[in-house]
Assembly symmetry: C2
Homo-oligomer: 372 residues x 2
C-alpha cells in the first residue's frame, strides 16, 4: 500500500506513493481537514481542483452528528460528502480527550459526555473500528489515549500501554474484511523517549499498514516536540507510511518532511482563512487590516488559485469588513491551494535531492517581511 | 438597447433582448442581488455557470463600504468583483428610506445617517449619478423617493413630483458621456392610479432608456399591488424594457411576466438559501427539518445544479445542523439556479405562446405539496 519512490540524498525526506481503494496519493501529502464531513467553507469540487488527493474526517464528530447510520445508509462517507478520492478517518481519541465535557477511561474503553449536548456515550476500540467500517473510510485509526503536556511518566506509561492494547484489539476485528481498510498504529508515550521507542516496537510486533505519531502539539515546548518527532521517525520502518498527526504551519511541515514524515493534516489553513489570514510566499497576511483597503494586488502574486487569479486584497478586505461569506471562502481556498502547492514543490525538491535548499529558500522569503 | 423579439399571443408577456457594453441579456430576466458587491455566499464563477447574465449591486451600500473611490481605482465594479457581464446599480433611494437611521429630505437631496455607524451624508441626484459613473455600472438608476404603505395622497404626490424632478436632473448630467450608461426612470406614486399614470407620462417626456416600477412590496395588500403593476405595464411603452423592482417569489415573477415585466431582482433566493429553505418544482422545502435526516434524494430531482447533482437532503440537513457554511452555499446556489432556470423556461414558453399554460402547470405542481 505504501511504495517508497525516492530517498532524498541530503535528508531523511522521502518521496512515496500510498495506494487505497479510492486512489493513489503522492507523499509527502497534506490532508485538508473535514471535521464534520466538510472542509469548512469549501466544496469537494474546489478541493479536487486545488489538487487534494485525500481528506481527513473525524469519526467522533460524525458519530455525534449526524450519526454513523445516517452516513452508512447514504452509501458511505464518500457518497455522503461527494468525494471520490481517499478519505482517512481519525478515531476520535484526540477529540474525546480535548473536547468532551467529561471522560472516564478504563482498559475496556472510554465513557464521555458529548461537547454538544452533554449526552453520554461509551466507546471501546472495537466500536470505534466498527464506526469507521460503517463510514467506509479508506484509512482508519484505532482509538488511542492522548495525554497532555506535562504528563507524569507513570501515567504516560499506562496511556501508552493502553494505546498499544487498544491497537491490538482494533486490528484483531479487521481480519475478516474483504474490502480491506488500511489501519494505522498510533505512537503515544508523551515526551518520554523510552516510552515512545517501546510503543513503536510493540506496534511493529502487531504490524500495521502505516504508523502515526500522536500526542504532539499538545502543549509541549517546540524543541522537545522536534526531538521526539525526529527520534520516532528514525525508529519507524522506512518501508511504511509515517503520518504526523495534527501539524502544522508551513515551517513545521518543511521541518518534519526533512526528518522523514509522509503525511500531514491540520485545520490551520481553513481556520486562518476564516479569520482573514492568508499564507503567501512572502509570509502571512491579515487581509482585513487597513493597509489593504486600496491594495489591488492579489493575495500572493506567485499563486495560481481562483482567488489570486480573480480578486484583489482590496476586494477581500471589503468582504471581511462586511462579514461576507465569500471572503471566508476565498481566503480558505487560497490557503488550501497554498498548502497543496507547497507539498507539490516539496515532492519535486525531494525528487531532485534539493529539499534542504528548497526549505532554506522558502523560509528566507517567507520570513523576510512582517506583513500587517 | 432593448429589442422586442416576440409578443406572447395569449398574454402581455414579451421576449426581448437588452444590450449593454458588457453583453446581451435575454428577457424576461432575473438579476441576482449582490448588495455589497457579492451575491451572498456565491462566487462570480458559480453565478456565470448558473447562467446569470446580469447582477444588481447597490450604490448606497458601496458608497458606505468600501467607498466609491476604492472601487473606481480598482478599475470599476466589474473588475473589483470579477464579473465580466452586465451590472445594474440601484441608486440607494429605497435603502435610504428603509435602512438609514435618520433622513431629512428636501427638493435638493437627502441627508441621512448611515445604518452602519451613524455617520451623516448628504446625497443629491447628481451625486448619486456620479457615484454610479464612478462604479461604471452598465445600467444605472436615478435617486428617487420611495414611500411606504399607507401614504397620504398629498405626500405621495410630493414624492412622485420630486422623483420626476430628480430623474430629470439625473439625465441632464449624463449627456456628455461617450461610454454611455443606460439610465432608467423610476415610476413612483404609491397606490394612486392617477399619480402613477402622471409619473409615467412625465418620465416619458424626459425619455429614459428603460422604465422601472418602484415603490411596490412596501407593505401594500397583494391585490392592490397587482392592480398597480398591471396598470403601469399597460401604460409603459412596448418598445422599452420594464423593470419591476424588488419582486419576488416564483409566483410573483410568473404573474408579473404575464402582465409584461421584463426584469426582476430579489434577495429571496439567497436569503432563503441561507436559512435552509430551498425552492423546488414541488414547492419550498426547509432542509434543516427533521424529516430530511435520512432523506437521500436531491433537493429537487428535476434540477441539474451542482448541489442537486452531488448532494442529498440528508447531507444538506447535516451541514445546516452543524452550522457549516457549505450548507448556506449549496442551498443558495440551488435557489439561484432554480430562479434562472425558471426564467429560461418562461422565455421558452413565451416564444411558443404558451406562457399561460406553463404558469398554470408550474403552479399546480409547485403548490401541490406542503413540504415541511
Amino acid at each position: 500500500m505504501f511504495k517508497l519512490i525516492h530517498q532524498d540524498k541530503n535528508s531523511e525526506a522521502r518521496l512515496g506513493q500510498l495506494t487505497t481503494t479510492h486512489g493513489k496519493i503522492d507523499t509527502p501529502c497534506f490532508m485538508p481537514v473535514g471535521t464534520q464531513a466538510t472542509v469548512k467553507t469549501l466544496s469537494p469540487l474546489e478541493l479536487e481542483q486545488a489538487g487534494a488527493e485525500i481528506l481527513l474526517c473525524n469519526a467522533y464528530h460524525l458519530f455525534l452528528r449526524p450519526g454513523i447510520e445516517v452516513i452508512h445508509n447514504a452509501g458511505g462517507l464518500h457518497r455522503f460528502i461527494s468525494w471520490p478520492k481517499t478519505i482517512l478517518t481519525d478515531s476520535g481519541g484526540y477529540q474525546i480527550f480535548s473536547l468532551a465535557l467529561f471522560r472516564h477511561i478504563t482498559d475496556e474503553g472510554v465513557e464521555f459526555q458529548s461537547h454538544l449536548d452533554g449526552s453520554k456515550s461509551f466507546l471501546t476500540p472495537e466500536l470505534v473500528i466498527e464506526m469507521q467500517q460503517g463510514l467506509g473510510a479508506d484509512i482508519i485509526m484505532p482509538l488511542d489515549e492522548c495525554v497532555h503536556y506535562p504528563c507524569a511518566n507513570d501515567y504516560a506509561r499506562i496511556a501508552m500501554e493502553r494505546t498499544v492494547d487498544w491497537a491490538r484489539r482494533s486490528k484483531s476485528i479487521l481480519t475478516d474484511r474483504l474490502d480491506r481498510q488500511l489501519l494505522f498504529g498510533i505512537v503515544q508515550g508523551a515526551t518520554y523517549e523510552d516510552l515512545r521507542k517501546e510503543c513503536i516496537n510493540k506496534l511493529l510486533d502487531i504490524d500495521f499498514d502505516g504508523y502515526a505519531i500522536g500526542g504532539v502539539s499538545v502543549g509541549e515546548p517546540e524543541v522537545l516536540r522536534y526531538n521526539i518527532i525526529s527520534l520516532l521517525l528514525d525508529n519507524l520502518p522506512k518501508s511504511s507510511a509515517r503520518y504526523l498527526m495534527g501539524l502544522g504551519m508551513p515551517e513545521d511541515i518543511l521541518q518534519a518532511t526533512e526528518a522523514g514524515s509522509d503525511m500531514f493534516d491540520c485545520v490551520i489553513p481553513t481556520r486562518f482563512g476564516r479569520n482573514g489570514t492568508a499564507f503567501t510566499h512572502e509570509g502571512k497576511l491579515t487581509v482585513r487590516n487597513s493597509p489593504y483597503i486600496s491594495d489591488y494586488q492579489p493575495l500572493d502574486s506567485e499563486c495560481s488559485c481562483y482567488t489570486c487569479q480573480n480578486f484583489s486584497r482590496a476586494y477581500l478586505r471589503h468582504l471581511f469588513n462586511c462579514s461576507e461569506i465569500l471572503g471566508l471562502r476565498l481566503v480558505s481556498l487560497h490557503n488550501i491551494h497554498f498548502y497543496l502547492e507547497l507539498m507539490r514543490n516539496i515532492r519535486e525538491a525531494i525528487q531532485e535531492d534539493r529539499l534542504v535548499e528548497f526549505r532554506q529558500e522558502f523560509l528566507n522569503k517567507y520570513n523576510q517581511n512582517n506583513k500587517p
